[in-house]
Amino acid sequence: MRATCARKDLHHGVQVASRAIAGRSAWPILNNVLIRTEEGHLRLTAFDLELGIECTIPAAIAEEGALTVPARLLAEVLSTLPEADVEISADEQSAVELKCQKSDYNLLGLPADEFRQLPEIPDDRKFTITQGALRDIIKQTILSVSTDESRAILTGVLLELKENEIKFVGADGYRLALRTATVDGAAGEASCIVPRRALDEISRMLDDDDSPVVVSIAESQIKFVVGGIVLVSRLIEGQFPNYERAIPGECERKLTMPTDDLLQRVRRASIVARENANRVIMKTEEDRMIITAESGDVGKAYEELEVVKEGDDIEIAFNSKYLLEFLTVVGSEGIVMELTGPLNSGKMAPVGRDDYTYVLMPMQIV
């Protein structure tokens, strides 16, 4: 094959696609990017069998065909070439040649037919959502995803599609984040677990605007189409725990407070709590909430905040890190906390919205 394109386009394309190459695989073809000619452009694909990314760039095709070349190497060479047109070609022996002005590089590739194609994902179970909305949903649920590899099921977000509604659920052993949203163009029903890595990568590609993302779900893969980019990921197989059981029902005791006021105070108190397993104690007294933390090595913290309280007083301890992560992404001016008791989970939600719920287990006050 032989094609000419702008250095900038090719470099950008290789960078986008090669996000799908996680580490250095012992299987060389998995470290390579596939470049294939199509009508008026080049299609770039990288795929490490977990995650695959495909994108296209404009190019003038002189001779049709396909080649593969180590993605990191190609990106590195491209990043330092002068801003001009680049001619990329490959011969029968998979030797790849890259020419740009007076530079001429021969890189060792591998035959294109060794490259693993991205799986085909049918379109019978799918939905469309805006980029901005998907970005928020991922941000608000991925915080609860477990990093403990021994609980593989919990290292991804549960995605449920039913009629025009989607649910995203992230949960580790200590907290749970549930987001719902209505979507357009929904077809079929689905329930699957999307690995964190796929969500991290798709988030990087999303803009904060109303342009669409099309999500299609197959038996064991999921596909996102954003602009001209296609991302395919393997799903985590298995049964997600019954999360609904972990969400406490309506509770008498409700505390409403401004998000930012609480965030500031918990963040300060956590400086002290850091040395003491991040534990902050929250205690209500009439219409105030008192936040304290202490550590033998550091000292004590005391914070006070006005709250609107329904129900009796309560004292409860939380891990400040888990609180802060929620407060940073909740994105509303106020939040409501429903607290059943010092040993029961607390339910938190943005004021005036019912599409986001965060459930957090307390720490014991000994």
Partner: protein, 604 residues
């Protein structure tokens, strides 16, 4: 007679001495008596075997079966050495299908204890009772009894005080007995075994004939649910059994049972085959659970290597090796747990644990160092360069020397103003300060920090409650230990409570381990406490519970740490009571002083 001829010093031993010598080989402790008796019961086609013991078997052992029983003559003759119903001639030795065959066991046992046989054969109206003291038949009488045999052995070693002294505590002997019966339960799932200790039921197998039920009894439900079957044939050898998926592992080999023709054996070759098949799948220091039954024509295996018959030799060791490792590998890959260079596989149940293409969540936040040696060398080179610019003159305060072959731990406050440079082999923290370069073993460092913290208790120890409580289905042994140590475990931050038979529910874990694999931490802690209680014959003191817990909670060699985590670890380490020695007594820090380094490069 030979004593009268002083010139002849060689004499034929009398029968009693010969029996006592044989007893020395076969009968070491109550568990070995039970082994011989239970094997006899099994060979007598028993389907129910009850083992009653008192004081760990030191006072009384009684094994009662519903097998075919013995005639009166047999009951007497079986007490003679090399009396056996199982082989008739030397040729038969190479075609052994029964568990026992040497004809040594009963006379040997009888010679070192007070011994009684009560037995009746089917079709005979009256049973027989034979009493025997120290090998001498004391009386033979009629006795009404169900069909089968009941043998009691009391006051074991009453006439061999040297042996008696070597018996351990009742608890330890019981531990050995439980271990032994577990092996029988697995190899003979058709037999309903009951073990009573001081009239309390310790163990009961279902006798349902299903290996799955046997595994459940022996290893507990969690383990039984984590296994996949293995089968295979190679030449004259066949294997069947179960191996655990990589998601379930143990910190020792206690869960590995090998059988040849239904006889529990130990054979290095087979352990090696298992390790071979599992290479690269489990981290170092973790072992799979395995139950493997090898079937082979009796002439291709020699079980007569040792009186206890625990060691075996195969005619073709490598064939057994190859059979075992291939079958295990196949089992693992057919359930898609082993690394394969395969296609975009449809996700099988457990592929997420496949090491090669496994989905691995990237550690969020800072990812600085890695096992990447180039980066490490560069970083190190750069730092050494800068530190070279600073004029430091330090006394060579007897601090360790990497150049000398023996590396000793550092002394003095070497952990002042430490900058962490990198992590080497995901095991060691490489750091420097004005004295020179320090290398810190991350696991023992963390162990020391946790040990101090757990020891101090105070308000530093917090419990993070779990959203989904963790249920532990333990083996009976483990459950007994947990039951005993419940309050200690609770005071260390495990909110754990009994939850039915051999089960416990964990509602909260120490906040210190919340971000890590807490399930592994608690399981390993329980496992080690069980071993401590039963194997090392210790009444486990609180201190060793703390040491164990600290060890299991600590980061492991092989855990990747971020630069922040390492810096934190080093500063916490400095605050501990002894930053240079871990609670087990291993060194935590070694150093290479600037002076030594300069010397090595011929700068001074």
């Amino acid at each position: 007679m030979n004593t009268t001829q002083p010139d002849n010093i060689i004499s034929i031993l009398d029968m009693d001495t010969a029996n006592k010598i044989a007893a020395g080989e076969v009968v070491e402790r109550p568990a070995s008596v039970i082994k011989e008796l239970v094997e006899n019961s099994i060979d007598a086609q028993a389907t129910e075997i009850t083992i009653e013991i008192a004081d760990g078997g030191k006072q009384l052992i009684r094994v009662t079966d519903n097998g075919i029983g013995m005639s009166r003559d047999d009951a007497v003759i079986c007490l003679q050495r090399h009396a056996t119903s199982k082989i008739r001639s030397a040729e038969d030795l190479f075609a052994i299908h029964t568990l026992g065959f040497r004809g040594e066991a009963l006379p040997s046992i009888a010679s070192v204890a007070r011994f009684a046989i009560i037995t009746r054969r089917e079709g005979v109206d009256v049973g027989t009772m034979v009493n025997c003291d120290g090998g001498e038949v004391a009386d033979i009488s009629d006795k009404g009894t169900p069909v089968g045999t009941s043998i009691s052995v009391s006051e074991l070693f009453y006439n061999v005080p040297a042996r008696q002294k070597f018996l351990k505590t009742a608890q330890t002997e019981l531990g050995h007995i439980v271990e032994l019966l577990n092996r029988f339960i697995v190899s003979h799932p058709c037999v309903d075994f009951t073990l009573l200790h001081n009239d309390r039921q310790i163990l009961r197998s279902s006798g349902s004939g299903k290996l799955e039920d046997a595994l459940l009894t022996v290893f507990g439900r969690d383990a039984a649910e984590a296994v996949i079957p293995i089968t295979g044939t190679y030449g004259p050898y066949t294997v069947r059994g179960f191996v655990s998926r990589p998601s379930y592992s143990k910190p020792n080999r206690a869960g590995q049972l090998f059988y040849v023709n239904q006889r529990y054996v130990r054979n290095r070759n087979m352990i090696h085959a298992l390790d071979d098949a599992y290479r690269g799948i489990l981290p170092q220091g973790r072992f799979p659970l395995l139950v493997a039954f090898i079937e082979v024509a009796p002439d291709l295996v020699d079980v007569n290597v040792h009186p206890t018959k625990i060691e075996v030799k195969f005619v073709k060791e490598w064939e057994v090796h190859s059979l075992l490792s291939t079958s295990i590998r196949e089992a693992l890959s057919s359930s898609a747990v082993a690394p394969t260079g395969d296609d975009f596989l449809p996700p099988a149940q457990h592929q997420i644990q496949r090491p090669e293409f496994a989905y691995r969540p990237q550690p969020s936040g800072v990812t600085h160092t890695s096992g990447d040696l180039t980066a490490f060398r560069e970083a190190l080179a750069a730092r050494i360069q800068t530190s070279g610019d600073v004029p430091v003159t330090l006394p060579d305060d007897g601090v360790t020397n990497l150049a000398s072959s023996e590396v000793a731990p550092v002394v003095g406050d070497m952990l002042r103003d430490v900058t962490v440079l990198a992590q080497a082999r995901n095991m060691y923290i490489v750091a420097q300060n004005q004295h020179g370069i320090l290398i810190i073993d991350q696991h023992v460092a963390h162990e020391r920090i946790l040990y101090d913290r757990l020891y101090k208790q105070g308000n530093e120890l917090h419990v993070q409650r779990l959203m989904m409580p963790l249920t532990l289905n333990l083996s009976h042994r483990e459950a007994m230990v947990v039951e005993n140590k419940l309050s200690d475990l609770q005071s260390l931050g495990f909110e754990i409570e009994p939850f039915g038979k051999d089960a416990f529910v964990v509602r909260g874990v120490p906040a210190l381990v919340a971000e890590r694999n807490y399930e592994q931490v608690i399981r390993d802690t329980i496992e080690e406490l069980t071993d401590l209680t039963l194997a090392k014959r210790l009444v486990v003191q609180r201190d060793s519970i703390i040491t164990t817990t600290a060890c299991k909670m600590a980061v492991k060699a092989g855990d990747r740490l971020s630069l922040d985590e390492m810096s934190r670890l080093v500063s916490d380490l400095r605050k501990t009571s002894n930053p240079y020695l871990c609670p087990h007594g291993r060194p935590i820090v070694v150093s290479l002083s600037n002076r030594e380094l300069d010397k090595m490069f011929g700068r001074i």
